[in-house]
């Protein structure tokens, strides 16, 4: 049982909430869109099973992530992945993926939702596993917080990011911070590294943050701002 009076515990709690907000909103949109083409009587069923699937998948993934992160080298892999996830957050995505067709059957919709959930939960899971330092209480808390965000949060998150783009930068910096800490705490990292640098954890975390924000900003500046996309129906364009 972690010490809930310690400030470290509450910092981890805040980090997990921030991660859930940054990396949790897309699932709800995919669920809603995958179920759009379903007949109305099946739509709620699709949304319900989609959300359930998303939550169960997240629990399973995070359980595996915690086991894996205890193995040598895997925190280094996780930390590097997390650095990349942070950088990606800062690059506006301009490339048009042509998504798989939503499908009009309940089965097709649920399949789309589950595949999307598995891929999109992965970054969230790695980040939460990193921020929780293996504490099962914190992990459970992270999952509970992410559920309402998965279900209702996306519109709020999109608006927040449009109004306050600095939120994205702060989120990326946080991911870099956690990644830096993960790299340092891998079992293969010799203890002399942590001991030779004063405040090694903070130094590594800060370097992670700076690295992510710098690389992200440089890559983002090379990419032209996306062109607004017109979706006006012909009939309203009198």
């Amino acid at each position: 049982m972690p010490d809930i009076t310690s400030s470290l515990f509450w910092i981890a709690v805040l980090q997990i909430i921030a991660i859930d907000i940054m990396l949790g909103g897309d699932n709800a949109v995919v669920i809603a869109l995958a179920c759009r083409k379903l007949p109305p009587d099946l739509r709620n069923k699709g949304i319900f099973w989609g959300v359930m699937g998303a939550i169960v998948l997240r629990v399973v993934l995070i359980f595996f992530a915690l086991q894996l992160l205890a193995l040598p080298y895997l925190k280094i892999v996780g930390g590097l992945l997390l650095l990349w996830i942070g950088v990606k957050l800062l690059i506006p995505d301009d490339d048009e993926h042509d998504g798989i067709d939503g499908g009009t059957t309940l089965f097709a919709a649920i399949k789309t939702i589950i595949v999307a959930d598995a891929v999109m939960s992965l970054d969230n899971v790695i980040a939460v596993a990193g921020a929780s330092h293996g504490s099962i209480v914190l992990v459970t808390f992270g999952i509970l917080v992410s559920i309402p965000i998965v279900v209702w949060g996306s519109k709020l998150v999109l608006t927040l990011m449009d109004r306050l783009p600095i939120v994205i930068t702060l989120g990326a910096a946080l991911l870099g911070w956690i990644a830096g800490g993960m790299l340092l705490t891998d079992p293969v990292m010799p203890e002399s590294v942590a001991k030779s640098v004063p405040y090694a954890h903070y130094v590594f975390a800060a370097i992670g943050s700076i690295l992510v924000v710098t690389i992200g900003k440089v890559m983002a500046s090379r990419q032209a701002a996306g062109k607004p996309h017109d979706v006006t129906a012909k009939s309203t364009d009198q």
Binding site: H97, A116, P228, V231, T232
Partner: protein, 150 residues
């Protein structure tokens, strides 16, 4: 998007519209201002939808996403219809997807509009500092005059 603008010499004003009361007040003002003018300008009523992330478009086809944006945009624009139809002022409705401030500015430029008329939320200075940034950013991004209403 209309390809007619180069032969169209009427003055055009952009009215960003999100369906809120502020937007309705701004539209009412735009209509009144338009009626006052000797040659009536045309109102381009624009609803901006926020883009979804690339993670979403990887799993959902583009047409479904466009339909989703269009539906949300039409819902937001619905409350502008009565006002516009009753006014008799020439107008078109537009739904664009993009970051709000940038989209309004670039739409106004490509459509050769001469003014932007929009509502602000009327925040106090502190909340305005945090939340009022769509207006602030629009002022940075456009060279056109912007008429703000409260």
């Amino acid at each position: 998007m209309t390809e007619m603008h180069h032969m169209d010499t009427t003055t055009q004003w952009v009215v960003p519209f999100d369906g809120s009361e502020h937007a309705i007040r701004a539209l009412a003002l735009a209509i009144n201002e338009a009626k006052e003018r000797h040659t009536q300008p045309k109102l381009l009523v624009l609803n901006v939808q926020l883009p979804l992330s690339a993670d979403v478009s990887r799993f959902i086809d583009g047409k479904t996403i466009d339909d989703f944006h269009r539906e949300a945009g039409e819902k937001a624009l619905a409350s502008s219809k009565d006002l516009l139809d009753a006014s008799g002022v020439a107008h078109t409705l537009h739904i664009l997807v993009g970051p709000v401030a940038h989209t309004i500015a670039s739409f106004a430029a490509t459509q050769h509009c001469s003014m932007i008329i929009m509502g602000t939320r009327g925040h106090t200075s502190v909340t305005g500092l945090i939340m009022g940034s769509v207006t602030t950013r629009l002022l940075h991004e456009t060279t056109l005059p912007v008429l703000l209403t409260k």
